[in-house]
Homo-oligomer: 452 residues x 2
């Protein structure tokens, strides 16, 4: 056991804490959506909390931890669902939220410190005519570093794919656990090894992200008597190149009653589509909705809603906020992450929705993967047992779905179709030969140097 | 034969001309790219030229023509290639270029008079932070009305599809040939019957088009030793959701020598890709090009080039400007319009490129149709005979290509995959029962009322 007091002394001048309550709080994320992860991770805690204010402090922390062979687990907003920022072997909790300044927007690329909240970054960019391409449903609390390191999908996926698409990460400054720790400046493909690797391959200090010109998105809620109409409408909207959109989620009729704020607008028994569409596409959206027997139920400005703490932008009912909205009222559920086939997508949705409808409440999100359109799903699932969730996974896989299992801890086991291309393992062998960065999360890694 | 002098007298106060040279000039478009159309259309001419300055004048002209049973053929910039604005039965040439004012941009939708040049409209919109979704390679001379009525595809197709995609036309004001002529205000799907119908179903006076937020597009020229590398790169770029682009054309090595302005930058024998990419995507573009053995050859700002009369934006080598660039030096060529299958697209390109390479110089343009990505082609073809072009068409169709034949006069024969959905024939029966609007261009139409 390393001498934490000595480590703290070596880091004098940096914001630190050994407060047990704070350490417990900062050693958690939203892994508890998974009863399996909850059992594995409850009680895990770091030994020292450190909150650096600049790259120099990050390097001091890494050097001291390397010298003392103390693991370092990095966190942003702590909004992940896979225990990405839960330290499995104690050590230092590296909280990046004090490094939260935007640097500049140049040629549509924002250079930003990794700990900036995404809502703040997006609104700051918006004042200059730009917006983020992608954000999670946790935009109001998540940091940009956490999103790149441990998220990477969400709102914007129907327009821009995920963070794994080449171009969606322009570059990053990355502090390593080499001897001595250094800051690398990685650009383009060279930055892939830090993309969605949970801070196991290096600590992003600054990130360069492409922005997209800001639009005045409209949140639109559309009701359908039949789920299949809602589903067909959503996919048709996704393929409608003439209608600019940022989001399109579909909810079976069990789910809207959990969506406080719009539940009253949705007639009982109706399935729901929530979408974000540019104002110029609204007329075409109405034509398309009419064709699919849809009725406009509610509408608001996305940006006005997210700037108002009393309002709920519709994306806070979507992606994994759907699960959260149900969990607020019913702790007996969990979820899965699925991707449907590109062909016969709607039939595949029905093939898993109908047989499991009593315990699986279907929730799909339209997305682009590699330039092709399909639906992903984050269905809400009535929890019975670990054995049962794996039965459901097996049945879904047999129906042709890909599963990015959110009930496992490691990148390799959980990523599936969300894995970013690139030699992440080889990169980690160079940047973290001792295996001190978030140990246990990259399954295939073994330390290259023996810890003395 | 109607009394043209009496008609002119009835239209006193409107800009008119009976000058033979002017009438011949204003009765032509770029149909002469097709030797077949050239034979059919050379010498066709209207009898009276009219250039209305507002809707009231349009209605006066239509009423007078209806009373006198005189056909009306509408024109904008006259940049079409199918004889869209060539009067087959004489009559009035209705030149819309005096109605060229932008009205306003509201919620990202521009309301504009139909005769405004697209370059002027785009630059005007750009000053307000917007740009056109789509434009033809003839942007510097084409009008927006002509593009909607007789074009509808071009630059922007890889991002937004064509004008036939729902949402890409928000609405239009349309003067009819009913008794009496009226102006209809059509919105959404209701406007489809005037979309790409060559002015046979009504005369658009104002158009409402969705805009997209302006980007500082970069023109990029990339060279490849092998055409197949160029082709694979272009398709991969099209599927790369992380790289925002507006255009992506591929040119077999016979073509770049005809592209004055960049020919010197392209090593002999190299195939070429010309693309317009947002600055934020340039790094990823380089990574992708390297992966496909491509070399950056030239780069410029699209907008700076199009604002400078001495410069050539790269889109003026693309779409049907490719054919024009060759025709400037060699009048012995023509072209086709093709669409490749969505699956195995690259193999289909090779299947027609290789066997015909001596007489067909392959030129593809990446496009989206109904939300899916493929390539269209406007190959330059060494002309031998009408029989031969139909042999080539038959061979291309046998290889799975769709052909939008540019060697025919009617909407029905020429449109194929470019046909806009909707009951255009039924609409024309209501709005032009006498069949006086651009007669002969809608093949399936027969006059409903008998001309007295």
């Amino acid at each position: 056991m390393a001498d934490i007091a000595a480590l703290a002394a070596a880091l004098d001048g940096i914001e630190l804490s050994s407060d047990r309550a704070l350490l417990r709080q900062k050693s958690r994320d939203f892994y508890w959506y998974s009863p399996i992860l909850k059992k594995q991770l409850d009680g895990k805690s770091g030994d020292l909390y450190a909150r650096p204010k600049d790259e120099a402090e990050v390097l001091r922390i890494l050097a001291a931890c390397r010298a003392a062979r103390v693991p370092v687990t990095t966190r942003g907003g702590g909004t992940g669902n896979y225990g990405q920022c839960v330290p499995l072997e104690g050590g230092v909790i590296l909280d990046m939220t004090a490094m939260a300044k935007p640097i500049a927007i140049t040629d549509g690329v924002v250079d930003v410190e990794c700990g900036m909240k995404m809502i703040d970054l997006d609104l700051w960019a918006r004042d200059q005519g730009w917006e983020l391409k992608l954000w999670p449903s946790t935009k109001r609390t998540a940091t940009i570093g956490g999103f790149v390191a441990g998220g990477g999908a969400g709102v914007g996926g129907i327009a821009h794919g995920t963070m794994r698409e080449r171009g969606n990460l322009v570059g990053a400054r990355v502090a390593t656990m080499q001897d001595p720790p250094v800051v690398l400046d990685l650009e383009g493909d060279d930055a892939s090894p830090v993309n969605r690797t949970y801070g196991t391959t290096g600590i992003m200090t600054r990130i360069r992200l492409p922005l997209t010109p800001a639009q005045d998105w409209r949140d639109i809620a559309i009701g359908f008597e039949k789920f299949t109409d809602a589903s067909a409408f959503a996919l048709a909207l996704s393929f409608a190149d003439g209608i600019p959109k940022k989001m399109c989620g579909v909810f079976d009729s069990q789910l809207p009653p959990f969506f406080r704020g719009i539940a009253d607008s949705v007639p009982a028994g109706q399935s729901l589509v929530l979408t974000m569409v540019a104002p110029s596409g609204l007329r075409a959206l109405r034509d398309l909705a009419r064709e699919h027997n849809g009725t406009f139920l509610a509408e608001q400005s996305t940006v006005e809603a997210e700037r108002d703490p009393d309002k709920t932008p519709f994306y806070e009912y979507c992606w994994n906020h759907t699960t959260l909205q149900v969990l607020k009222k019913d702790r007996g559920v969990s979820y899965l992450q699925c991707r449907f086939p590109f062909e016969d997508t709607l039939a595949a949705v029905e093939a898993v929705r109908i047989p499991f409808r009593d315990e699986v409440w279907m929730h799909t999100e339209c997305v682009r993967f590699g330039g092709r359109i399909t639906m992903s799903a984050l269905p809400v699932i009535r929890w019975t047992s670990e054995a049962r969730i794996y039965e459901i996974i097996a049945a879904f896989e047999a129906a042709g779905l890909g599963i990015a299992n959110p009930h496992v801890l490691t990148i390799e086991e959980g990523s599936n179709y969300r894995r970013v291309p690139g030699d992440q393992l080889g990169f980690k062998q160079r940047t973290d030969p001792l295996g001190l960065l978030n140990p246990g999360k990259m399954r295939d890694f073994s330390p290259v140097e023996t810890a003395a």
